[in-house]
Symmetry: C2
Subunit: 414 residues, 2 copies
Amino acid sequence: MKAEIINVGTELLLGDIINSNSNYLSKELAKLGIDVYYHTTVGDNKERLKSVLNNSLKRSELLIFTGGLGPTTDDITKEIIFSTLNKKMILDENILKGLKTYFESRKITMTDNNKKQAYIPEGCKVLQNDIGTAPGIYYKDEKHNIVLLPGPPRELKIMFENHLKPILKKETKHIIKSKTIKLIGIGESSLESIIEGIILKQDNPTVALYAKEGQVEIRVTAKSESDKKADELINNLINKIKPSIKNFVFSYNNESLEEVLIDLLKSKDLKIGVCESCTGGLISSKITSVAGASKVFDRGITTYSNQAKIDELKVSVDTLKKYGAVSKETALEMAKGLLEKTDIDISVSVTGIAGPDGGTKDKPVGLVYIGIASSDTVLTKELKLNGTRKKIQNKTANIALNEVRSFIIKTFDL
Amino acid sequence: MKAEIINVGTELLLGDIINSNSNYLSKELAKLGIDVYYHTTVGDNKERLKSVLNNSLKRSELLIFTGGLGPTTDDITKEIIFSTLNKKMILDENILKGLKTYFESRKITMTDNNKKQAYIPEGCKVLQNDIGTAPGIYYKDEKHNIVLLPGPPRELKIMFENHLKPILKKETKHIIKSKTIKLIGIGESSLESIIEGIILKQDNPTVALYAKEGQVEIRVTAKSESDKKADELINNLINKIKPSIKNFVFSYNNESLEEVLIDLLKSKDLKIGVCESCTGGLISSKITSVAGASKVFDRGITTYSNQAKIDELKVSVDTLKKYGAVSKETALEMAKGLLEKTDIDISVSVTGIAGPDGGTKDKPVGLVYIGIASSDTVLTKELKLNGTRKKIQNKTANIALNEVRSFIIKTFDL
């Protein structure tokens, strides 16, 4: 089934919000074996929306519209699409009742413009909105499946999962399956040169490379009638490229660095603590974003001021005076300080200059030191990064997580 | 000038990456007064790219393509566009030289497929890539301006800023200016009901509302010949709606909660410390993502284990036994503990259950306590949130930042 996604909303064209809906829907449709050929974004404008609709009707079988179902005057998606298709709008008493209950339960006054959401085109299936007020719509004729979903990402996701996915599953026959391998420490071009011979020969599964903030991903995608057959195709290909890439891989299963690290810590029954300066809590925050982090993560201390480094981590005043807060000596004392005051097994520290101010000729913005300590081994690493404050903080956090991962693999034998 | 953005890349249609380029370009073009009417995403496929190009040539004057300029075999944007426009490709010796230097300086072998990037269509202006290998292209004839930019966001941004923006500035005459007001504690529908009369009467400036994870934004956009006139139009409108909205506004200037909080702390010469459990460092990380946070932020302590709460914040064993780690009593002791051991002026704590596991009937996932303490005032607040782990963590962090903001305004008079 040829599909396309059409996002309606002037706010997207003004760059006010990132278009995460087309990303989410694309991923979900791919899993169902539905090929998405186009994304289109168009504003809340009658003529342009109509012309996009007419163009899409010519080239696609499944049209998924998002946005413009809200109560406000610039929400026109439903009206334009179904007036173009010559469908009458009918007041749906059930939806109206639902809306009333929704507003009552939240003790909010239902405004007149909310009632607009209870009108549904004839012959359509209503897709229930489990957490918001705008119902979705599913319309089908001989040539087309047309779907309208609400714009707020949370509402859209829950509606897709609970009400649209079951319908689309019935409409498709084959499946598409992907596996993503994640690598760190190699560039996209070098990686392609290494595995080029294998990529070019492949039609099913296909292989694609993506570069992402210092990481590279290899995505292997197979199309097949069964889950089992798709897995076979994917695994055969991965086995072929494995010998050339294995030194750079941190996950064969699309996991994030923090997920891989937490699994590794769990498997070795180790507890970790984090002390941060320039990343200001980002490393702790990444680790604790993973469910179950509490089994391996004990505490994180962000020592932003020098006094905090002295109080919390027993960094010596002499070290701070002699080498400065941004130095490998301070990084090491931070990591050791945390290790000594707790019963954790590994401690990782980070101190650096995230910018945009605070850099000097000797210690420019982007200079970062990582320290890692266990009871019998220590390690420091100097980084010279560039980019905005947020980029430097994010790169530092990722590199620190990967350094800890390597450290554990080398230091804590099974 | 009617513009549209066309993103080329199958990875976008598969949902592998979020389309941040169209968001960035839309924002930048809006600032230049260029109206963006469409975003289109199409895969690395000759026929479909050609049909998108032909459709866009009919309706727009400025076409900005992103992606597909890389060295690999599926990068076809340049070839397809300029073969459709009947332009010859010529080897550009300067670019080839630049590529060689780029690879030599990085000590990477230049592969044969990189040479493809040195071919440029006749009659085009090369947009230099200051940090990557793929040059951009600017083409102009009587009817159209066609631009090709590389896909990696960092390369695209630097090329836009340094090389494309100066060209586009010359091509446009008027400017568009926007101001964004941020509110918390009111829903989108209620807000529209309040200011509807004013919105409907307005053509220039226009007013638009956006809901974002518990916050609402009002964007006021004016089109004018001069910066000064645009400011006047915007400020007049804001003065009209101010009396109805002022209780919910935390920024009239599109600042984030953390930026507003840091400015407030600076203005009152206060230092803050953060102690976190369920947010795991996220509040610290948000605060320290703002440049200059070191002036007001002393330290952040993530006490994930009970032992860490006892060690670092002197939470009493009795409190943990009697009320549990997730309780207003623990939240308060955490905040007080941090305040007492440091010379900060305000301390904020958070303890809760972010899920997906760990909830009970009495203390379900989403139950969170916030504690705030200054030398003479304390406050606790109970939250009952829903959503994924990351949503609960993020909402908690935002609400905590806003609670601290209100606390400071009430407690620390100027």
